[in-house]
Symmetry: C2
Subunit: 278 residues, 2 copies
DNA sequence: TCGAATTTGTGCGTATGTATC
DNA sequence: GGATACATACGCACAAATTCG
């Protein structure tokens, strides 16, 4: 029948109840409150779309949007065909990022990563791929490699670190090729020495300091996938620089640069700044 | 006319062109690419909703969603009635967070914050409010204040730091009341000494180290408002602890704890870990 | 100053595919 | 297989902000 055709559906008037904020935001806040207060415990199921429509008297699209927002905030997790659930926040792990705290014995028993894992009774493993390459402009500038040429001038190593088998940290490391070329430690992960400090020390390069620039941003799709976290999660992006003195003149230069990415939900960075008592 | 009423609108069949990913994501990626590559410069206007519908042959709701996502990713900014524009990323400022780097002269010319500002030619100002209070459980535990009583046992100071007049950093500081009670530095901001190290030194407390736990998360509504960033922005949440030796016995204890919040978009944290050459 | 056109923000309703139980 | 729930998409309507002649 033609009369069943609603040309001008009468919008539900909410203006009387309106507290200025849009409908979907009010519902989001109500649910967020329940989650944060613990009234809805982790793992609990949120109202389904039809339930939201009934409970708050809204349309499907508003219910969809509400769920989307809670998911994007990391508070909820939607399982297709099953429901939307309060997300259990993963326990945060400390990752120690100061080598004065980290290395109780200088040039200790392996890479910083391995020591960090051992301290927390985790099984740390990693995989990597090393290539020599022509440094991209940003790396070139940071490592002070001078003018760009055709020749390969850096050793690039991509790592995926795992804690108890779970991917935990991505890292891309850059070293000046000239520094290690022809030495036993030219390939970072091939030889008796592990870790930048240990390796550099073995060829007479003395590490005199390091810096870390810490940024936080939304993870790119591939990063989130590699770290096994939901797309759009927050990540730390750390740029670490190692400075050293290079023989024979003892000239100071950057000996390694690494870009490190890890989940901000799963990790807390611990920086320690001891002050000698002398 | 009744015949104008489309009961079953024929959905556009896209399955033949489908490359697995949903429509809206493909459009988002196309635009994101244009933004990141610089083809769409900061300030440039993105296609409006009708334009997106025409260009990609999609419906209004898809166009709406695409814009929403780009905005939520911080890549675009929507101005109602005007358009959606590529967002100009604010310049990130370094904030130096290692006192071995920060204080070239021990107990230098004021608070770390002021020194940081001076180094970058910024005008650093701050406002604060100090109260004595009964420590909440978490603070009690961190400061090792022992059993909870009725008596006030901490000095709480809330700061808002500003750089060139713009709010840049929120901080809540906690000090054990017993440490400074009756001394000239009982009130952190009232007296000749500024900054934890300077103040503690003046009453014979020797600072022997500090740690910072760095977290990143979405800012709460009030935090974003106080920092003048859009709601839902990413913030750093830093918990700083100062450790010292307290006279007369020289017992080691936590002498201050501070929770610091700053915008992750505007700031890069710089941690330096010099290694003495001895 | 005013009004028309445009654009975003919000909300309505519906349809279909697919995953889960 | 059937019911349920989420994911994606279509299309429309109206308010509020902005822009511009």
């Amino acid at each position: 029948m033609a009369s069943a055709c609603k040309l001008r559906p009468q919008p539900v008037k909410l203006s009387l109840v309106t507290e200025d904020r849009p409908l979907y935001l009010r519902i989001v806040e109500a649910l967020r409150q329940k989650i944060l207060s613990g009234e809805l415990a982790p793992g609990a199921r949120l109202p389904s779309r039809p339930e939201l429509m009934r409970e708050y008297g809204v349309s499907d699209s508003v219910a969809v949007r509400v769920a989307q927002i809670l998911v994007s905030e990391g508070l909820a997790e939607a399982r297709s065909g099953s429901g939307t659930y309060v997300r259990a926040k993963p326990k945060q792990r400390l990752t120690t990022r100061s080598f004065t705290l980290r290395l109780t014995v200088p040039f200790g028993t392996g890479s910083p990563y391995r020591q960090d894992m051992e301290r927390q009774d985790m099984r740390g493993t990693w995989s990597y791929r090393t290539v020599t390459a022509v440094a991209p402009p940003e790396v070139r500038e940071r490592l002070r490699l001078g003018e760009e040429g055709d020749a390969e001038d850096v050793v690039r190593t991509d790592y995926v670190f795992e804690a108890n088998g779970e991917p935990s940290e991505l890292s891309t490391s850059w070293e000046p090729l000239a520094l290690t070329e022809g030495t036993p430690v030219a390939l970072p992960e091939d030889g008796p020495h592990v870790g930048v400090m240990d390796r550099m020390h073995s060829i007479g390069v003395r590490i005199i300091g390091s810096t870390e620039e810490v940024r936080a941003r939304l993870g790119a799709a591939e990063e989130c996938a590699a770290l096994r976290v939901p797309p759009g999660s927050i990540v730390f992006a750390i740029r670490r620089m190692y400075y050293g003195r290079v023989p024979p003149e003892g000239r100071e230069r950057v000996v390694e640069m690494a870009d490190i990415v890890l989940s901000a939900e799963r990790y807390v960075l611990l920086y320690g700044m001891p002050r000698d008592e002398a």
